[in-house]
């Protein structure tokens, strides 16, 4: 049997799958066009609602947004947390990376001097329900508050002793380490640009 008839045979078998895949792809693109903006707006509102938690005392209404080019050459939108009287209190930096069950997206709060982490909020995660999804819980997230922002965080399985240590969630070491790595990478990537912003009078 020649190459051409065999290929025609495949197509005769599979044309329905191909046509359906194209139709469904088009349909999903239409759905995304229809509701994508609304989902983005929901996420923006969630981010703004989290800002007073991430940088204590910040007023979401005064928050400034700016695009910074990180050391990896990519643009990232960061939020400048401002108090009710207009004083610069700190920064909120989005960070994302691979977790155990899928992508994890977090927001990291930093003080104005970029010396201390002031809070952590999990926007998106697909970790194992009942184990890894405890990264959303306050018990895990509150550990990040007050940690140094210059030293990379490390995850330990027992009681955290050093200042830069985060205690892993039992049964979810990979999820815990993923969050710490995501925070470390984002801080390393954006520390320089943020410092230039702050130094340049922001």
């Amino acid at each position: 049997m020649g190459e051409a008839p065999r290929r025609a045979g495949y197509l005769a078998q599979a044309w329905l799958v191909v046509v359906l895949a194209l139709l469904y792809g088009g349909g999903l693109a239409a759905v995304e066009t229809l509701v994508g903006g609304r989902i983005a707006e929901n996420r923006r509102q969630e981010t703004y609602a989290a800002i007073p938690y991430l940088v204590p005392g910040a007023d979401p209404g005064h928050t400034g947004e700016l695009l910074l080019v990180g050391d990896d050459g990519r643009e990232t939108k960061v939020y400048q947390a401002v108090g009710p009287a207009g004083e610069h209190l700190g920064w909120v930096v989005p960070a994302s990376g691979q977790g155990f069950g899928g992508a994890i997206e977090v927001l990291v709060g930093l003080d104005a001097e970029l010396g201390t982490i002031t809070g952590l909020y999990v926007l998106e995660q697909r970790e194992t329900p009942g184990l890894g999804d405890h990264i959303r819980g306050d018990a895990f997230r509150s550990q990040f508050r007050g940690r140094p922002a210059e030293v990379p965080l490390s995850v330990v399985k027992l009681e955290a002793e050093a200042e830069h240590e985060i205690r892993a969630i039992t049964g979810a070491t990979i999820s815990s380490e993923s969050v710490a790595n995501i925070v470390n990478q984002a801080l390393a990537n954006l520390r320089g640009p943020l410092a230039r912003q702050a130094g340049g009078g922001g």
């Binding site: 599979a14 329905l16 799958v17 999903l28 509701v35 994508g36 989902i39 969630e46 329900p129």
Partner: protein, 218 residues
């Protein structure tokens, strides 16, 4: 060559109780256990599953003449995954909080065997009308099953139903009922009750079953 199967009415009625997806077929156990801690997430899940089941059944039934036997499962999965993605995006757009609460369980509707089994058993063999009735019956049966478990768990665990307080404030709230063990215990007891009732009805009729339940309660 025409396949003669159950009529639309039979398909609908069977889905609700006689072939209830949870209590009789033991399908869709993952959402049954995972999102029945309270009525609101359970009913959102039931509605999303119903949307996917009805859409997939209608579409598969409409193209059933074109299906190739060895590629049909691929077509079912592709169809189901598409409608699940649609449901997921609409939940994220219009019910953002609920969408976050349900988390990975909405995408997991793709692997809910209730849906692919209806595509295989009914929609790929029977007409659009019967497939619609089948999907409606199964969706209703699935919703009733989730509601029964969520009712027990939310009332005993949180003293509320659909978020409204139904038990006196002195009720301590059995925390375990909201947690995963409560799901297993409730499902096991309700499954046992359903099995016992159907056995008894088969031998002694419905009134004897009701009397039996009553005497056992006393």
């Amino acid at each position: 060559m025409r396949h003669e199967g159950p009529t639309a009415l039979e398909r609908f009625v069977n889905g609700v109780l006689p072939e209830n997806p949870v209590y009789r077929q033991l399908l869709g156990m993952c959402p049954t256990l995972a999102v029945t801690g309270a009525m609101k997430p359970a009913m959102t899940m039931a509605a999303a599953t119903a949307f996917v089941l009805i859409s997939a059944n209608l579409l598969v039934s409409a193209i059933r003449g074109l299906l190739k036997p060895h590629l049909r499962i691929l077509v079912f999965t592709l169809t189901i995954a598409t409608f699940v993605t649609v449901a997921d995006r609409f939940l994220a757009a219009y019910m953002y909080e609920m969408s976050k609460q349900l988390g990975p369980y909405v995408p997991l509707i793709i692997v809910n065997c209730v849906i692919i089994s209806r595509c295989e058993i009914c929609a790929s063999k029977q007409g659009v009308g019967v497939a619609l009735a089948d999907a409606l019956g199964m969706s209703l049966g699935f919703a009733l099953a989730l509601a029964s478990i969520a009712t027990v768990r939310e009332i005993l665990g949180s003293a509320s139903w659909f978020g409204l307080p139904v038990l006196p404030a002195s009720w301590p709230g059995w925390g375990i009922m909201v947690l995963p063990p409560g799901a297993f215990v409730t499902l096991g007891l309700l499954l046992g009750t359903a099995e016992w009732a159907s056995k008894r009805r088969a031998t002694t009729g419905i009134w004897a079953t009701v009397r039996g339940l009553w005497s056992w309660r006393r």
